[in-house]
């Protein structure tokens, strides 16, 4: 086992231990507290909060993936070609919207709670996936597409058997980016009462308890790194299978 | 004069250039020919110290280049490469002015030199000076690349596959231009190519390399007539030999008295051109003109004699 994987395994086990038996870590986090503050978050179960955080991110990303890939497919077909330039511009403009603004603007429509966070994560997650799918579908080697046409594949067959499989690693890279952004952005959702790890961090900020801030931040950070690495590994294996090398 | 003396270059213990000794006479064109991986480019790059020899020495006009700082040496030697290597963010004039700039020439002198070179390469200064490289055709880019290499009036010009990216028509024109400029300026040119046809056309001397070793170094006629081994014979191509031999001589050197009929040929044409014309027009002799005046004829029989293996 390589050093990198060993570190990842240790990080994963430590994370699981922290979530399952948080009290075992009270000694370590206790070093950061003053005046007898609690060392471990005590207004909820860390495991539940983490699962809720992951759930929100998973649902938002799944939705974003379906819609973004669908849209990218439409604008790269002859039927939707007219929408391609404007969809590119929209994706560019969309990226200038700060996540907090998206979140805050979703509240008037949806009220407080999980819903606005889901919508904000969904909307913000669309852009990287859409852009990467576009890149993947428009950057196909022309010879391959020509060959598929030459062999008499229909539009659908080309899409499903040739274009999407070749573009898959690039699409996956977009999803990875989207997940990492969402994991971090979801913490802000706690300001509108969504149940995410942000509530641990914000509780720490409000009570001046660095231990809470660090707990929340560490859990999100480690989750993000592990998921990022996991998806990267998946991409690499897909790339290797199709004989492409990472650009 | 460039003297390459028992030079080797090792990479990971493997000799890419293996004990090469070669002398290149001043004001001549030396073409280094070889297949890819033969070490020809490495040998060329040792002349301007882009690569340092593992052993052996190189001298330019008697001075060992080991003692000259690399950047100083390079500013004295022109360097043109395949794909031209023009700086894409600088205009044509700025590209050509690179080495004069490094040498600290003043503005007026540099500008005059840039225009002079553009004219030399038949590029109108007024319209080309301020263009960016991507706005030029492949042939124009290549010409600017050579003009840039000649900017500081170097005595030596190194060229690494300079015509590799050009189509045959433009390549022939570029080769002809190079020869006329070389004659005008008297520059020593060392050129690397994998194309034997190009080597025969351009070289006063041809140096053939394979697997890091120098196999033969001789004038083209001798390479064709007496290849040192089968590999070189293959490079020349056995079915091409007589035609390549003919291509080395001019019509003007083989005029016989007499008058032939039909369209004439100029004294400056190669014997190969004359031979092709004879076969094509089904004649046995062609009238030869110099400055529009008929000065004699060139005959099929003479050509057949000249194309035969030299004794």
């Amino acid at each position: 086992m390589s050093w990198g994987n060993l570190i990842r395994l240790v990080a994963l086990l430590t994370l699981l231990a922290l979530l399952l038996w948080p009290d075992a870590f009270s000694g370590a986090f206790g070093l950061l507290t003053t005046n007898g503050q609690p060392a471990i978050y005590n207004q909820g179960n860390l495991l539940d909060i983490t699962l809720s955080h992951l759930g929100i991110v998973a649902v938002a990303t799944l939705g974003a993936t379906i819609i973004a890939v669908g849209l990218a497919i439409i604008v790269t077909r002859p039927f939707g070609a007219e929408f391609l330039p404007v969809s590119r511009s929209l994706a560019n403009i969309g990226q200038t919207f700060p996540p907090v603004a998206v979140l805050a603007l979703a509240v008037p429509m949806l009220g407080f709670g999980t819903a606005p966070t889901l919508v904000a994560l969904f909307l913000y997650g669309l852009l990287p996936i859409f852009e990467n799918t576009l890149t993947g579908l428009t950057g196909l080697p022309p010879a391959v597409v020509e060959a598929a046409r030459g062999m008499g594949m229909s539009g659908w067959q080309r899409l499903l058997r040739v274009e999407l499989p070749i573009a898959l690693p690039v699409i996956l890279a977009g999803i990875r980016l989207s997940v990492v952004i969402s994991l971090a952005t979801a913490t802000i959702g706690s300001t509108v009462a969504a149940r995410t790890l942000g509530e641990v961090i914000i509780a720490g900020l409000l009570s001046n308890n660095t231990a809470f801030v660090l707990q929340g931040g560490l859990i999100v950070g480690v989750l993000a790194v592990l998921i990022y690495d996991g998806l990267s590994a998946l991409e690499r294996s897909l790339l290797a299978r199709t004989g492409q090398t990472r650009a | 004069m460039i003297e390459i003396d028992d030079v080797s270059r090792l990479y990971d213990g493997r000799a890419v250039v293996d004990q090469v000794t070669l002398t290149i006479q001043p004001r001549t064109v030396c073409v280094i020919v070889g297949t890819s991986g033969s070490g020809k480019t490495t040998l060329l790059r040792m002349i301007n110290k882009l690569v340092n020899p593992s052993s052996g020495s190189l001298r330019i006009d008697g001075e060992d280049i080991a003692g000259i700082p690399a950047y100083e040496l390079r500013r004295r030697i022109g360097y043109a490469i395949q794909g031209h290597g023009l700086f894409p963010h600088r205009t044509v004039a700025q590209n050509i002015a690179t080495v004069p700039g490094l040498l600290g020439w003043d503005r007026a002198k540099t500008r005059a030199r840039v225009d002079e070179l553009l004219e030399l390469f038949q590029l109108d200064p007024a319209s080309f000076r301020d263009r960016l490289p991507h706005q030029l055709s492949g042939g124009e880019q290549q010409r600017v690349g050579v003009a840039r290499a000649l900017a500081a009036k170097p005595n030596i010009l190194l060229m690494d596959e300079p015509y590799g990216a050009l189509d045959p028509v433009i390549r022939a024109k570029a080769q002809a231009d190079l020869l006329s400029i070389q004659r005008k300026l008297g520059t020593t040119i060392v050129l690397v190519t994998h194309d034997m046809e190009e080597a025969i056309h351009l070289g006063d001397t041809i140096a053939v390399m394979a697997h890091g070793k120098l196999l033969q170094s001789a004038p083209p006629a001798e390479i064709i007539a007496r290849p040192a081994n089968d590999f070189i014979a293959d490079l020349v191509g056995s079915s091409e030999r007589p035609f390549r031999l003919l291509s080395l001589s001019r019509v003007g050197d083989h005029i016989e008295p007499g008058t032939a009929s039909g369209a004439p040929i100029a004294t400056t044409a190669s014997l190969r051109d004359a031979y092709a014309e004879l076969l094509w027009s089904a004649r046995t002799a062609l009238p030869v003109t110099r400055d529009g005046e008929i000065v004699g004829q060139v005959t099929l029989a003479a050509l057949a004699r000249l194309a035969a293996r030299p004794q």
């Binding site: 950061l32 007219e82 929408f83 330039p85 404007v86 511009s89 929209l90 560019n92 403009i93 990226q95 200038t96 919207f97 700060p98 996540p99 907090v100 603004a101 805050a104 603007l105 509240v107 008037p108 990492v180 994991l183 971090a184 913490t187 802000i188 300001t191 942000g198 961090i201 914000i202 720490g204 900020l205 660095t210 801030v213 660090l214 929340g216 931040g217 560490l218 999100v220 950070g221 790194v225 990022y228 | 301007n48 882009l50 690399a70 950047y71 100083e72 390079r74 004295r76 490469i81 031209h84 290597g85 023009l86 700086f87 894409p88 490094l102 960016l132 490289p133 991507h134 840039r148 290499a149």
Partner: protein, 396 residues
């Protein structure tokens, strides 16, 4: 054309053909007309009362809007030239903006300072639909960089004129502004200072660091991995985590306090934003330098440029557009992220956003969010134009 030619040979005039995107715009605009144009509330926090187009505006203005919208539909649906579509789209959007202000004046009872009128869903959907038309037209026109900047300046000037004219003074967002005009401008200053300051410091540090990573490939992976990990720490946690160490620095390092370092306020925000900025700048510097064509570098070496001359006159200029792209990403990102600074007492437009969320006062949220989005958008347009201008010839 001869008279005998059969009718089917005569193509339909191109301007009469339907535009697919236009259909989308028209459908959205149709929905927008049906939705309430304005939202009236007797005071800041009670639920609003939806007002349709004709209720929200005096009759003559409502009719004017309908007439303009019909022109807008035509411009959207028909294949007119892009500049015509752009002009009509701009007129419609401009009209919507002006009428939103007028509807507020119309609906607010005279002298009532508690009532709040804000644009309704109908306004937003209409504005979005025609903004889409404008975006599409602009995309098709493929403006040159300086034209895009000029366009941005013109729009900014129009907005400034609209705000200065007082037409919008009865809108709820500006009511909130009127109540805190002074703190708005000081928070704006803080916001700009944090966003631009952090990017400036990150550029000064990141570009040389990227150059070092480029020269020493062994360093590259570890530096980029470390910066990657920094990016995964959620922003609110990073802001919070910096409080304690910075407070310690302020208390124990002589002189630190004097130059403004402290555990709370802007310092942790500045440091956190700086940390987030490093990865894109360093990574883009490396990518830009690695991407310089080997032929150009070989030529530069062959002509006798020294290492420094090569770096300064060939490698950096060629990598510059890529580095600038990194700076663009970071600047846009930081303008948005700076809103989070408010959570740790760093100030900026986030103050209004989080106050608004706390008081369920959405107008206050908008007062913070709208300038942030506008700033980020303007920064993106200007820097994209700069990237295009500097990229002359360097990428093929």
């Amino acid at each position: 054309m001869s008279l005998a030619a059969p009718a089917i040979d005569r193509p339909r005039p191109t301007w009469l053909a339907l535009d697919k995107l236009g259909v989308l715009v028209a459908v959205a605009a149709g929905i927008g007309i049906a939705l309430p144009f304005a939202l009236f509330r007797a005071n800041r926090i009670v639920p609003g009362e939806a007002m349709g187009l004709f209720a929200a505006l005096p009759l003559h203005l409502a009719l004017l809007l309908v007439a303009t919208l019909i022109g807008g539909f035509a411009a959207a649906l028909l294949r007119w030239p892009a500049h015509l579509k752009l002009a009509v789209g701009l007129v419609v959007v401009g009209m919507l903006f002006v009428l939103a202000g007028l509807s507020a004046s119309h609906l607010t009872p005279d002298g009532d300072s508690f009532a709040r009128v804000s644009p309704g869903a109908g306004f937003w959907v209409l504005a979005f639909a025609f903004a889409l038309l404008v975006t599409d037209a602009l995309t098709r026109l493929a403006l040159r960089p300086w034209q895009r900047v000029a366009m941005l300046l013109a729009v900014a000037a129009a907005m400034a004129l609209l705000l200065w004219s007082g037409l919008w003074n009865d809108l709820s967002m500006l009511r909130e502004y009127a109540n805190r005009a002074q703190s708005f401008w000081s928070e704006a200053q803080t916001h700009l200072g944090l966003a631009f300051g952090s990017v400036a410091i990150a550029t000064l540090v990141g570009v040389p660091l990227g150059m070092v990573c480029y020269k020493f490939a062994a360093l590259r992976a570890s530096v980029l991995n470390l910066l990657n990990i920094v990016q995964t720490i959620p922003s609110i946690a990073l802001f919070g985590l910096l409080i304690a160490p910075l407070a310690w620095v302020a208390a124990h390092v002589p002189g630190a306090k004097a130059i403004g370092i402290s555990g709370i306020g802007a310092t942790p925000a500045l440091v956190a934003l700086f940390a987030y900025s490093l990865l894109p700048i360093v990574a883009n510097t490396v990518v830009g330098l690695v991407g310089v064509s080997p032929a150009a570098i070989d030529a530069a070496r062959g002509m006798g440029m020294t290492r420094w001359q090569r770096l300064l006159s060939v490698e950096l200029p060629l990598a510059f557009p890529v580095i600038l792209t990194g700076i663009r990403i970071v600047l846009v990102q930081n303008i948005g992220l700076t809103t989070i600074a408010a959570l740790v007492g760093g100030g900026g437009f986030g103050v209004f956003v989080f106050q608004g969320i706390g008081q369920t006062a959405m107008d206050l949220v908008l007062l913070g969010a709208v300038p942030t989005v506008a700033l980020a958008f303007a920064a993106a347009v200007v820097l994209d134009a700069l990237v295009d201008m500097t990229a002359r010839g360097t990428r093929t």
